[in-house]
């Protein structure tokens, strides 16, 4: 798997990522079920984000793949081979830790050479591959620096270089950008993605930042309560969340609770508690007349004072928030329902607090989950 002849770490050598199959992984700590039956099939070279709140089990899952946690049951296949019985150092998986975990008593070059040293790669090859890894993360010439002389972003790149220098078929990343400030984080997101495309390594990337997952991943596994809630490409997770948790966790969402009713066959509506009803598009097998349901709709799908196939709901402007490119308007509909509407700042007029206003949206942009 690992090419120790000195070549590789580039895209013309035919090296590529390995497929990863996680099958029915369970892991409990006492009575707490951290991972509660997770299965994922990840294609070679795919970038998968494990997205979830803290305590969702995503890090436990990652640690199980790395070998630092032993699952109670289940299999983890890399290239078709179950790696669960193997100790971490024999798995050949690269890993970037949250706080980089660089070795403080070694230089940058010594850090990056470490996995090569452990694999007994000849000295001359080591040097060449370290140079190439440094070039890849744009740190050429930094080899002799001490680790603590580097900025956070630079340390992050060294950690990355060290994790990929031995051409692992799978690269695990545990919130690698969590410690960086926003601007640097966004830069690094693009850069990491770029490096991954070049190496074609399979990447499993743990994050609690939904924007990061949306930006970087080929597919996102949304995890909560130790379960995969949805495993799909970013656009699908965002546009068609499979449940209210996913809708709420990924992106901004307005929730409207109500009861399902059917005006005529195939024409469903959601009636707000003691209030108006709004039209829904389509039909789902789980819908029953009288069933309590929760509707989710993105702020940018809603319009103020406009014409659309669902709504309008009447309310009063509670607050407007200027956000640079966009303008958010919070509209109070009932005591329990306030909707956030996001318009492009160039289009939206500044609404005055207290103004009466109508909110509407294309019915097909809403998602309804029976609760």
């Amino acid at each position: 798997m690992t090419d120790s002849t000195g070549q590789a770490l580039a895209d013309d050598t035919g090296m590529a990522g390995a497929p990863v199959s996680v099958r029915d992984i369970y892991k409990a700590y006492g009575s707490v079920r951290a991972v509660n039956g997770v299965s994922l099939d990840i294609a070679p070279g795919e970038f998968v984000a494990l997205l979830g709140p803290s305590g969702s089990g995503k890090t436990t899952l990652l640690m199980a793949i790395a070998g630092f946690e032993t699952p109670d049951s289940g299999e983890i296949l890399i290239d078709g081979r179950d790696i669960v019985p193997q100790p971490p150092h024999k798995r050949g998986i690269g890993m970037v830790f949250q706080r980089y975990a660089l070795f403080p008593h070694m230089t940058v070059a010594q850090n990056i050479a470490f996995p090569l040293r452990m694999r007994k790669v000849p000295k001359a090859d080591q040097q060449e591959r370290v140079e190439r890894a440094l070039a890849l993360v744009r740190l050429s010439g930094y080899g002799d620096r001490r680790v603590n002389q580097l900025s956070g972003g630079q340390q992050q790149r060294v950690a990355m270089a060290r994790a990929i220098v031995f051409d692992p078929p799978v690269l695990l990343m545990d919130e690698p950008l969590g410690a960086l400030d926003k601007r640097l984080r966004e830069e690094m997101q693009i850069e990491l993605k770029h490096i991954q495309r070049q190496l074609r390594t399979t990447v499993i990337y743990v994050t609690h930042d939904q924007a990061e997952a949306l930006t970087m991943a080929d597919r996102i596994a949304v995890i909560s309560d130790g379960l995969v809630q949805q495993f799909a490409p970013p656009a699908e997770v965002y546009e068609r969340p499979t449940n209210a948790f996913v809708a709420g966790f990924v992106g901004e969402t307005n929730f409207i609770d109500g009861t399902l009713e059917r005006a005529e066959p195939g024409s469903w509506r959601l009636r707000l508690a003691g209030g108006p009803a709004v039209a829904l598009a389509g039909e789902e097998p789980s819908w029953r007349v009288g069933a309590p349901a929760r509707m989710a709709i993105r702020p940018e799908s809603m319009r103020l004072d406009g014409e659309a196939s669902s709504g309008p709901l009447l309310g009063r402007v509670e607050e407007t928030i200027y956000g640079g490119g966009t303008l958010a308007c919070i509209v109070r509909i009932t005591d329990h329902v306030a909707l956030t509407v996001r318009e492009a700042a160039a289009e939206g007029r500044l609404r005055r607090t207290g103004d009466e206003i109508a909110v509407s949206w294309p019915a097909e942009r809403s998602r309804v989950f029976v609760t």
Binding site: P88, H89, A101, H105, P115, R146, F166
Partner: protein, 291 residues
């Protein structure tokens, strides 16, 4: 100067106090040390070349008679052996402690620290009982058929090394533990993920990063053992005399205070020289590790 004092006194978090208030805070201790330690020390050491008149006779005597050099060397050798002994025994304990949490840590830490609460005298007598002609060790060895007749254990240098290693063990374990505890867990995890087997993690990550603690422990144990008095006297006997006993003998039995003071001065000088050398070697090591 001021900045330097600051850095020295405050370490990383600089300039929380002004130099004046820092000195004020240190003043009670400084005054106590000055009056109760440095002044008497200077007075005592000055006797080695001031009595009866300005003279270097006492130092000449030390240089002339090989017995002094022998005892000095034996003292340093004992210190070194005890330091290495406590290191070999103490490192695994410190490592074990660094992996424990909660009540398990409390139990092991208590086992390590509690002996410090028992007087050195008591622990030394305990070794006398254990190592005696009909002591537990000899009886056990005989019972197992390993030896036919009791072996002489008491009044040997070995007995001194053994007991001092036992007594000084906490001074090795605690500094090593504290530096091991400071090594982030994810360092050894990341080393493993990069392909390091357990022995390699120990060799390339944990050992080098625990060196400051090892050095501190070595210095502590070595320096403390140089001044050991009771244990060598009770377990070693007259042929294995160490320098503290020699100084005591000169001062209290022979009442030759100038001579006692000269030997003490030599001990102090050689000890400081060894420490300085040690410090330099250690610095060099660190530079090499980093460079």
């Amino acid at each position: 100067m001021r900045g330097r004092l600051h850095r020295m006194l405050h370490g990383v978090s600089a300039s929380r106090y002004s130099a004046a208030s820092t000195l004020l805070l240190l003043a009670p201790l400084l005054i106590l040390l000055l009056l109760a330690f440095y002044l008497p020390l200077a007075q005592f050491l000055s006797r080695s070349f001031m009595e009866p008149t300005l003279t270097l006779d006492n130092y000449a005597r030390i240089a002339d008679r090989p017995i002094y050099a022998t005892i000095l060397l034996r003292t340093f050798r004992t210190g070194l052996i005890v330091a290495v002994g406590t290191l070999v025994l103490g490192f695994p304990i410190a490592y074990l402690m660094s992996t424990l949490r909660g009540w398990r840590l409390v139990v092991v830490a208590a086992i390590v620290v509690l002996p410090l609460l028992v007087s050195v005298l008591v622990r030394t007598y305990a070794w006398q009982v254990l190592l005696g002609r009909n002591g537990v060790v000899n009886q056990t060895l005989e019972g197992l058929g390993i030896i036919d007749a009791p072996v002489k254990l008491l009044n040997t240098e070995f007995a001194v090394w053994l007991a001092m290693t036992h007594i000084l063990l906490p001074f090795m374990v605690l500094p090593i533990y504290s530096s091991l505890r400071g090594i982030p867990r994810d360092l050894s995890q990341s080393a493993q993920s990069l392909g390091a087997s357990w022995p390699n993690v120990l060799r390339h990550i944990i050992l080098p990063l625990s060196l400051p603690g090892v050095a501190a422990g070595m210095v502590l144990v070595f320096v403390i053992s140089l001044g050991y008095f009771i244990t060598p006297m009770l377990l070693g006997g007259p042929t294995t005399m160490m320098i503290a006993s020699l100084i005591g003998q000169q001062a209290t039995k022979l009442l030759d205070w100038p001579m006692a003071s000269a030997i003490a001065a030599v001990l102090l000088f050689v000890t400081v020289a060894i420490m300085a050398l040690f410090q330099r070697v250690l610095r060099l090591d660190r530079v090499m590790g980093n460079g």
